[in-house]
Assembly symmetry: C3
Homo-oligomer: 247 residues x 3
């Protein structure tokens, strides 16, 4: 299975052209759109989202990941192999959290180049053919390099910011609920939020936070849009009090 | 064929994770996105939309339907078998119109639970595996129960409200055109609308109603957006005069 | 491979019903969503977009194209065969640029009609079954007609207007970069734009133009939305100075 994690959008030509390459180069392989609206041009926020969502997929899954504002510039194309999952994409921090949480990880720099490489669409021209090769079981067209060479060591293990606003207006943070501890409190712009288990737990219109189905701290409003009610956007900071590691 | 009818959106992680489960559990089965933007958290409006659109699909089709604001609370997970089509989803009224219009229908309460069931994503954890089982031809992991147990008997057979705004700004009502009668008139906020056969039937900018390709009364503006021109939203009431059953 | 080029949107019922027909009539055939957000009800702008994007696909590809404000009226359903690619859709100018750029092209008028043909959804009822037949290798259910019969001869070879705004807010024009010449300049509302190779070539916030990955002149802002910064919409005119053919 090839899983797409991009900021390409679905309706326009980018995801479709990537899938055309995958279907031609790896016929019959299942392709799943995980995120086509990952934080645009924001590899840092995207890294926490990917770190939370990739773990749900089985070993052997190939992730084709493109959040790549530096496309065409000097940033390298890489493959990260982490706990038997493969991640193909740009070396711009997008795989930092995946690597940090993996028991085993190695980084390969992609040496292969296609006959025709556009300046701005490496997702289609470079990353998709490489993902298809991996799906066919071929060895990565890449050479191992020091996995610690390019790190974003200053990024925290959990990010106390909004990293994604979903279709309903719910706002995911870069915080794992499991890292928070049972007595931790959460606040947005000084306004404390209580924890709930699910939406119908709270009266309509009430803002709360809960552990979402992939383990992230998510802020929501029952029968409402949290992004509008609380004026949330990607990058909005979240305050945590009484976090496990604070004690 | 498994048909998805949800309020999940396509770009974010929900539809993708559901499809990953379906592809793993029922490999090769065709999956079709019918609606990913069904009225959010509004099973009543969604019920009329589903009732109109499911009839177009062939016998044997499996519908995975999730408009489920009560996820995690006491509402039961069910399978409705109606005229040789299967509907898997929450027991919150979403299947009321399907059942009412079917020649034959029975309701089964899903007894099976997955090893890991999140509090807020039963579409992925519970309904998708059940839909995949049905697609594989296995018996429903469910026990029959009195089909009349949970009904929304106060809901009308046709709903004189907007139930969906499409990509063009056209507004579908919960009314079947066939139920209206040839001489019925339609009005929005006191403004009468004439009937047309198709868009080019009317001058650009003109608002009208027509029978859409799945039999619903739909309000549109040739070369314009009816939702903006007429200030329509899901729930906006529509007036009908001279309806067949009124005479 | 069947490639979809429409203004249907993805989330609502139109693309899904078309795919249900294709999967039933041509099981196992790969289906790719190229554009589901082609310029709505605007076959002229769509024609330049299609002309630029179809060339990237291999010979043998079948394009199912629906931008069809005249659906239900007298416009004919046609098949265009151009350089071993097939285009199925309405005869309203949508294929004008494809035909003009092809080395070889012929036009067939579709004679076949389905048992049930809705007035407003020929994409599902007429064009999808025809595309599926072609995908199965069957002869077109259509008769050749004079390829020059319906032309939009007044349309230019390259259109100096915005024809598409993408997910990032980048604005594609109907101009091929190769037709511009190396010393051509571009301006929007009197504001000159410099050429760049890729996004990171320019400082954040800077507007520029570049040749996109399918050869079109595209206007963008590094780390910003060109549509908002420059107030661009489909139809906004672009000025070209020093174009190759001007000299």
């Amino acid at each position: 299975m090839i899983v797409l994690f991009t900021d390409f959008g679905l309706a326009g030509p980018y995801t479709g052209q990537v899938k055309a390459v995958l279907q031609r180069e790896a016929p019959g392989e299942a392709i799943v759109d995980l995120f086509a609206d990952a934080p645009a041009a924001n590899p840092k926020a995207a890294a926490y989202l990917l770190g939370a969502y990739c773990a749900w997929f089985e070993a052997g899954t190939i992730f084709l990941c493109v959040v790549d504002p530096g496309v065409g510039s000097a940033r390298a194309p890489i493959i990260v192999e982490a706990d038997d999952r493969f991640f193909v994409g740009p070396d711009n921090g997008l795989f930092e959290i995946v690597r940090r949480r993996a028991r085993q990880a190695r980084v390969l720099e992609i040496a292969w180049r296609p006959p025709a490489l556009s300046a701005t669409f490496h997702g289609r021209d470079l990353f998709a053919p490489v993902a298809a090769r991996l799906a066919r079981g071929e060895p990565p067209p890449a050479a191992a390099r020091d996995a610690s060479s390019l790190r974003q060591s200053e990024w925290p293990d959990d990010l106390a910011e909004i990293v994604y606003i979903d279709h309903y207006g719910n706002a995911m943070t870069g915080l794992r609920a499991a890292a928070l501890g049972d007595n931790a409190g959460l606040a947005i712009a000084g306004r404390p939020l209580e924890r709930a288990r699910f939406f119908a737990d709270r009266p309509p219109g009430d803002a709360f936070w809960y552990e979402n189905s992939n383990g992230l701290v998510e802020i929501a409003v029952n029968r409402g849009r949290a992004d509008r009610v609380l004026a949330l956007a990607i990058g909005t900071p979240v305050s945590v009090v009484g976090r496990r590691e604070d004690r």
